[in-house]
């Protein structure tokens, strides 16, 4: 049955496992690093914006422009442009680990914007109430913004994670491997469409799983 519809793919079990592993590897490590950087920048934007709890025009403008700049560069070009920096950090500009650097730079600004939007939904009045009982900026960030904004933070994290998987499919361009690479360089180039479809199905399963878990979690913490 499987052999009938996926004649080439069944013979490439090892390649599929390898590619899935590479995709998950790139996604996981990028998510951790970009998550921390994006979260920090997103929080930075929300607290320094006009009317924020640590209003600072200069810092806000720098962060805002930086995010816009990074988001303007098409990812395929970023992969190439960033190569010297990648070599500096990882030691090489090609391979799965090397792909994590451009992936971080490609997804962190996106995540920062998502976090900014999520935190902007936190009621200004609640922030004021926290200030009125004597909370300082650190307490307000961790005990009000991140807590009250959690359902939206989870939803934007899911969105970012899915778009990150989208980006990892391009990592093949610099030898990063992964399912996207398998689909294009093997499936598409050799006219083995079943390999392309197989890679796509695995990606779909990963995406749906993330979406499902994320939605469930967000609903669980949302008491509004």
């Amino acid at each position: 049955m499987l052999a009938k519809y996926f004649p080439n793919a069944v013979t490439m079990k090892g390649d599929f496992i390898q590619a899935t592993w590479e995709t998950l590897y790139m996604t996981f490590f990028t998510a951790v690093v970009a998550g921390i950087i994006g979260m920090a920048i997103g929080i930075g934007l929300i607290v320094t914006q006009p009317g924020g709890i640590l209003e600072n025009r200069v810092v806000y403008n720098i962060l805002d422009k930086l995010v816009n700049l990074c988001r303007s560069i098409p990812f395929v070009i970023l992969l190439a442009v960033i190569a010297p920096l990648t070599r500096l950090i990882v030691g090489t500009a090609i391979g799965t680990t090397a792909a994590i650097v451009p992936l971080v730079i490609g997804s962190a600004p996106f995540y920062a914007r998502q976090i900014q939007n999520a935190l902007a939904e936190v009621d200004r009045g609640v922030i004021e109430a926290a200030e009125s009982v004597g909370s300082g900026p650190i307490a307000i960030i961790f005990r009000v913004y991140l807590r009250e904004g959690l359902p939206d933070i989870i939803r934007s994290s899911v969105l970012t994670l899915i778009s990150l998987i989208d980006l990892t499919a391009m990592a093949g361009a610099i030898g990063g491997g992964g399912l996207g690479n398998l689909a294009i360089n093997v499936g598409y180039s050799r006219f083995e469409s079943d390999v392309t479809v197989g890679a796509m199905l695995i990606i779909l399963v990963i995406v749906f799983a993330i979406q499902l878990i994320g939605d469930f979690w967000a609903r669980k913490v949302d008491h509004a």
Binding site: G125, S132, V133, G134, S135, A139, D222, H223
Partner: protein, 353 residues
Amino acid sequence: MTNEAIIQLKDIDVTFHNKGQTVTAVKNVSLTVNRGDIYGVVGYSGAGKSTLVRVINRLQRPTAGTVEVSGQNILDLSSKELRTARTKIGMIFQHFNLMTSRTIADNVDYPLKGSKLSRAERKQKVAHLLDLVGLSEKAEDYPAQLSGGQKQRVAIARALANDPEILISDEATSALDPKTTSSILELLKRLNKELGLTVVLITHEMEAVKEICNKVAVMDAGEIIERGDLVTIFSKPDKPLTQDFINTATQINQAMEKIYKQAGTLGLDDHHILVQLQYVGATADAPLITELYKRYSVVSNILYGNVEILQDTPLGNLIVVMAGEPDQLNEAWTYCEDAGINVTQLDPNSEVA
């Protein structure tokens, strides 16, 4: 009530700069609130009330002036000192501002996390506070499950968590229905009596002030235009805006409007005059209408009557048509004034304030 000042605002100015425009929200306001006062600040929206009270805990830094709370100069405090000072100034808001992600108990516990209390002590304190506002059984619920009045009670419990000496109420009853409003005002009054809490109550409803305040200031366009103790302001309002607020609260405005509409049927002439009689305190008890008839054969037809009890002092308002001979009417008028009653002749052709 002592005469010890707990809040002293002096010459406060607050100006905002927005896109090249300068807006003065508060103009040269001085205000002293004594320990144990329930001080009402009344004004229409945009009058600068909320901005003014935010100066008390420095949520709003004034452009000019000095702020002294419990003997501390609030404007000179460092951020850390300010945060400590703020724990002693509770605040409640029109839209409650509870955290939706936390349970009721957790909301009340929020301000306690910075305190020196142990976990067990905090739990006990939260239970005590919820009991104080009558919401013990809702401890594990989330704010979304509560009614507006209950949410405001939670907000009050939260504001009281660190045993403040002052509670600022920023339009706290404006989003509530009249019955719930009364119950929240009663709670504030009880806290004032039982805990000696000083309350600053901002509102656009004179009814709220009438129910619990002992002092009142009226704000218009960033300035305090009139202030004093409640009974004085209600019995002898000086400014038209104050009169307007009071007439709305005592519903005398609606009564006048109705009477004026039917002015034709009253048959007003030299022998019939339409007057408003206003009296404070003991004079309210004298059988005035009977006396007027016995002494001057003046017949009074009561069109509207209302008695308010303010701070245990009765304050009465009557609108009557007095009928009699012109000189008798004059004498009756003088008699009323001698009895300490404020008499105003009403002209149905004029506009109701």
